[in-house]
């Protein structure tokens, strides 16, 4: 396996690291492998297992690094699991790896809490033939934390996978979420809501690879950026030549709430099959004045109306989730977060 110290530190010319260089999300100096502790993982809803570290693919520097610092892998057999997993991180540097094996249907929400300086999260899983997994990830880390997240998901024949992310915690986040549709008729729906505030920097890179025919994927990323925050969404959608009759779409929408906020949205498509539907779109805009006027005409102050529009914009990210359990958890937590922000 590739050693981290032997691996080349990627330059900013690499698409993956263009907006968030590895040196800015490494827990120390980039030519070191510091001590990294394990996070506390709890759930009251089902049993968790542990195993020796299941190696992550060595396709990039973040995964190579995590392979060296992870101490074990927490395994979840998703057979009719329904509930919440709480990951608590503290101290200087903490990392954890969760691996899901899904054979039937499950609905799970992961909550990330704590005040670590650095948090490394690896999520991997196999959604096996005819299985269904709805998974929510809520980042509620301290505003001082740096997080690196890598995901690797495999979808097999007739599998259904919904992955929702609510990103509102942490100071600097780099997420690299990859899904491969390996079986025909598999389906992926991915929803991401980002709330940028303060000087928060949030970079989501999403790779979706269609390897088989009759596969579907849908990606929606809604980012609301306030203050001096910066959101980046990059997509890489690949449809192999054999993956005929694929239906894929990527939408990135940014709501810019202050003159100093920034957002990048860069969907990229590589389509090698000729009988497919593949669409992408990106839009960045300030608050819609007609929406603002409408709400103010109903007695809401400008601040209240703005808050309602932002909340709606982010809540709407999760409207397409089929899992009521995951959708309600994401929307409820988001609403509480925004109300706390409004109160200050």
């Amino acid at each position: 396996m590739t050693s981290y110290l032997d691996a080349n530190v990627p330059s900013r010319s690499e698409h993956l690291w263009r907006y968030t260089p590895w040196s800015r999300v490494h827990p120390g100096a980039v030519d070191t492998v510091p001590q990294v502790d394990a996070a506390s993982i709890k759930t009251e809803d089902f049993e968790l297992g542990t195993s020796a570290v299941k190696p992550l693919p060595t396709s990039d520097i973040a995964r190579i690094f995590l392979n060296e610092v992870l101490q074990e892998t927490t395994t979840i057999d998703c057979d009719d699991k329904y509930g919440h997993i709480h990951i608590h991180a503290g101290g200087h540097a903490v990392a954890t790896h969760l691996h899901f094996t899904c054979n039937t249907a499950s609905n799970i929400v992961i909550h990330l809490h704590g005040e670590p300086d650095w948090f490394g999260l690896a999520l991997t899983g196999d959604i096996n033939a005819n299985a269904q997994l709805s998974l929510g990830v809520i980042n509620e880390l301290s505003t001082d934390s740096v997080m690196v997240r890598v995901d690797d998901w495999s979808l097999h024949r007739d599998a259904r996978f919904e992955l929702a992310t609510l990103s509102m915690g942490g100071h600097r986040n780099k997420s690299d979420i990859r899904s491969t549709l390996k079986g025909s008729n598999s389906s992926l729906k991915q929803f991401i809501a980002v709330h940028g505030h303060g000087t928060r920097h949030d970079d989501h890179h999403i790779e979706i690879h269609h390897q088989q025919p009759h596969t579907n994927s849908h990606l929606l990323l809604n980012a609301a950026c306030d203050d001096r925050s910066h959101s980046i969404g990059t997509g890489a959608l690949t449809i192999d030549d054999v993956a005929q009759h694929t239906d894929a779409g990527q939408i990135f929408r940014n709501l810019l709430l202050s003159p100093s906020s920034r957002a990048e949205a860069i969907p990229e498509l590589e389509v090698l099959a000729n009988e497919v539907a593949a669409a992408h779109g990106a839009a960045s805009a300030p608050i819609n004045k007609e929406q603002l006027h409408y709400l103010m005409s109903r007695g809401l102050s400008k601040e209240e109306a703005t808050s309602m529009i932002v909340e709606g914009f982010l809540v709407d990210s999760f409207t397409g989730l089929d899992s009521e359990h995951v959708r309600e958890a994401m929307q409820t937590r988001l609403t509480v977060h925004l109300e706390c922000q409004l109160i200050g």
Binding site: K289, Y294, M296, S297, R298, G299, S301, K302, M308, G312
Partner: protein
């Protein structure tokens, strides 16, 4: 005793450098229903929007007094809290915001305090029943994917709940079928007794159900003729050509 609710004096309004309203004056008492009719582009919606305080319109001269107070410097939400209401011709969609949540917050803002959940639920149920609206409306997102008729019903539902003193209804009858029009008209009549209503419409069919006290004809940003309900009937029969001669 009659209370002058709205007094518009020699109002001139522009959008950018384009003058839209060119000297309108009108006075409305509490309990009165005024209808404004006119061709497309005559300035009817502009008048409603500028009374409500839409920031895209600039008052270049003239005044608007509501309950005796010049409201030019009042923010839109302050006008709403003071009892003014505009039923929009094209209400904005607010994706992600449920109708129920929106109504509760709106009512709390306008009344200055949140009603108890039980009292609000009862009030809401009664108003929705009056408008023949299904409860599933409440969990939908505000105007998102609504048909034209659904949007207009939601506007009237808000009017019933907010109980305004001055209601500006901008083509509330457009997009409604005959049954929906009757229901919406009943909603308007339910609040009209204690409210001043300014109804903008193209059609007599709404005025058959909501009887106006005064009808104004607006041509090129000016009120050219005012009269009783018979004026609307004459317009329905003869069109606007005869009014052009008066302009």
């Amino acid at each position: 005793m009659t209370e002058v609710l709205l007094r518009v004096e020699n109002l001139h309004v522009s959008v950018g450098d384009t003058p839209i309203i060119q000297g309108i004056s009108l006075e409305m008492n509490r309990g009165e229903i005024h209808a404004i009719m006119g061709r497309n582009g005559a300035g009817k919606s502009t008048l409603a929007n500028v009374i409500m305080g839409h920031p895209a319109y600039q008052i270049t001269s003239g005044t608007i007094h509501y309950k005796g107070k010049n409201i030019e410097d009042m923010e839109v939400f302050e006008r709403a809290r003071a009892g003014m209401f505009l039923s929009f011709q094209y209400p904005a969609a607010i994706p992600g915001v449920q109708v129920g949540t929106f109504l509760r917050k709106s009512v709390a803002s306008v009344r200055g305090e949140a009603p108890s959940p039980r009292a609000f639920r009862q009030e809401l149920n009664e108003a929705m029943k009056q408008l023949d609206m299904d409860k599933s409306f409440l969990s939908r997102y505000v105007n998102d994917g609504f048909s034209g008729g659904e949007k207009k019903r939601l506007e009237i539902l808000q009017m019933l709940l907010l109980q305004p003193h001055l209601a500006l209804l901008d083509e509330t009858d457009s997009g409604l079928d005959i049954d929906a029009l009757r229901i919406v008209a009943e909603g308007i009549n339910a609040v009209a007794e204690n409210t001043g209503c300014l109804i903008i419409t193209h059609y007599q069919r709404l005025l058959d159900l909501v009887k106006p006290d005064v009808v104004h004809v607006l041509i090129d940003g000016k009120i050219i003729e005012s009269g009783g309900p018979e004026l609307a009937l004459k317009l329905e029969k003869e069109g606007y050509d005869w009014v052009d001669a008066l302009a």
